[in-house]
């Protein structure tokens, strides 16, 4: 294994992941299991989207629902008002989310907002969009938009969770490939350089503004695809779901719990959070808010005890284990 390059190993692991999950989706018949896989993949997609900007770029957005909601509304409006096919609406939603991302990014990075200021401005933008969506007629105002039920693959409405699972899997794999590219490309290296020390990066000729703008565009595009997916599955969107804090929090917690700036962290974080959420649902029943209580507590505990996330801490433990193993052998010899 160690003779393979890291890049190749990552590409192999993505292929294996895609194959295994696709097979699972294909052979499993239980609706509960299929739903679990689909929702976990969906959460992974949110976390991966946040990870591009937050993990690799170091820009903590507290309002990523902004891009999610925009993707979702475009997907719904394209079908309800413009009669567009959902397969065409999805890329359109991603493009418009990207445009919103570029707009917000251009404004905030232009003025050098970072840290808490950037978190606040994204939060405020999501709130502005929520209020606008509640007030204007073409988003269906507070009532929301309902996508008419017309089952069929050509209409991106599948008979079971299997189809939706495969759809979101392809989006997750796309995000994995993008993350892999960030880890091994020049753009990714620049982005991480800007995250770690913006002044030093600028001194060696990197343009931080452009790099951060690129990151928020990619992040927003992925988030927009998650919004479009949400609308296809639940066929309904309203301002609270689209731009409310819930999605922003889910994206951020997933990435942080899993490990920021890593390839598999967001997927691992989403899986752990969903297992936890299901466990609490079994323990306490369907109580409103219990999921979010768990998310909040996990977030605080992770920052307290394992700020590098599951994957980061896992690596430290493995290294520690290998080292103690080696020491042990040395002692024996």
């Amino acid at each position: 294994m160690s003779s393979l390059s890291i890049s190749l190993r990552e590409r192999l692991s993505i292929a294996v992941f895609a194959g295994v999950v696709a097979t699972l989706l294909w052979v499993l018949d239980s609706g509960v299991a299929l739903n679990f896989i689909m929702m976990t993949l969906y959460a992974a997609l949110l976390a991966q989207a946040w990870n591009v900007l937050g993990g690799f770029g170091g820009q903590f957005s507290f309002g990523h629902a902004l891009f999610f909601g925009t993707g979702a509304y475009v997907q719904a409006m394209a079908q309800v008002h413009w009669g567009l096919n959902p397969w065409l609406a999805l890329p359109l939603g991603m493009v418009i989310s990207t445009a919103v991302g570029l707009f917000v990014g251009a404004l905030s990075f232009r003025y050098g907002l970072k840290g808490s200021y950037f978190a606040l401005v994204t939060l405020a933008f999501a709130e502005v969009f929520r209020i606008v969506a509640t007030s204007v007629p073409f988003t269906g105002a507070g009532v929301g938009l309902m996508v008419p039920l017309r089952e069929g693959v050509d209409n991106m409405q599948f008979a079971s969770r299997r189809g939706y699972g495969l759809l979101v899997l392809s989006l997750v794999v796309l995000a994995l490939c993008l993350t892999h590219w960030l880890r091994h490309s020049r753009f990714g290296a620049w982005l991480q350089a800007v995250r770690d020390n913006e002044d030093a990066a600028r001194a060696v000729g990197v343009n931080p503004f452009g790099i951060k703008l690129g990151a928020i565009a990619l992040s927003a595009a992925l988030m927009g695809s998650a919004g479009a997916f949400y609308v296809q599955v639940f066929q309904y969107i309203d301002p609270g779901i689209a731009y409310g804090p819930h999605t922003s929090v889910e994206a951020l917690v997933g990435a942080i719990v899993g490990g920021m700036g890593t390839l598999w962290g967001p997927v691992a974080g989403a899986l752990v959070l969903h297992v936890l959420a299901d466990l609490t649902r079994n323990l306490f029943g369907q109580l409103p808010g219990i999921n979010m209580v768990i998310y909040g507590m996990v977030l605080v505990l992770m920052v307290m005890f394992a700020p590098r996330g599951i994957t980061g801490t896992g690596q430290s433990i493995r290294r520690w284990w290998l080292r103690s193993d080696r020491d042990h052998k040395k002692e024996q010899a």
Binding site: S108, Y111, G115, V128, Y295, G296
Partner: protein
Amino acid sequence: MFNLSILFPSVLNGLTTGAVYALIALGLTLIYGVLHIINFAHGAALMVALYGVYWLKTGMGIDPYLALPLMVMAMFALGYGLQRGVINRASHGKDENILLVTLGVSIVMENLALLAFKSDTRTIETAYTLTTVPIDIGIGQAMIALPKLVAFGGAVIASAILILIVTRTDLGRAIRAVAKEKHGAKLMGIDVEHVYAMSFGIGLACLGAAACLLLPAYYVNPQVGGGFVLVAFTIVVLGGMGSFAGALVGGLLIGVVESLGGLYLGESLGQIGIFAIFIVVLLLRPQGLFSGNS
């Protein structure tokens, strides 16, 4: 459109709300000024305080205004404990961590409230809820609800007390020393951790007072903090992070903007005015309108 008989009551109403906003923002700006962190849990803590007042009134029959000393102490204790027990431990000396931890704390608080009280909006009934007071000065007259007038007076007094504490007492001197130069303060024998926790406690105590003044004319539900948190941030950003005078002026200004926005644009779109100010100020003058060059 600019009819004075409509405009005047609206401005007056805005000022009464603005005074409470200012009190909330003072707590936030104190925490920022000393700990250099943005307390994302500020809105959620206000929500907790509002439920505290609600519970004292409906469960124990204690009038909100009489509950004020109790709530101030309870919120102070909550803040002190939160800073020492959770936030300080989780920070590892990094600002991003504090940002995330206060976000986590606010998520937990809001959803525990959702679990405990459901998402229903609740109000309390007092003898003076519907009492109005006529106000007549040369340029116009208005009927203002008594609780709003009390809230205005109470918020002004509470803000004055807070400013006196910070500028005139030994604790205030320690707080200012830590805010300016924490290593120097430590060398002078000041217990920095204690001062941090005291500041956080005082910041939340402001919310205890604000909650008692707000609830007779307001309502509480688990999401109520979300609206306040952005308003408070707007005020603090507008007035300059860490500036007390800025928070006072900013609070009154935002109260009036919200009230006029509601008058001319309608209840929900009126809120946009606040966020528009927030975004514009953050982008153009993140050091605040009232502070010098950063």
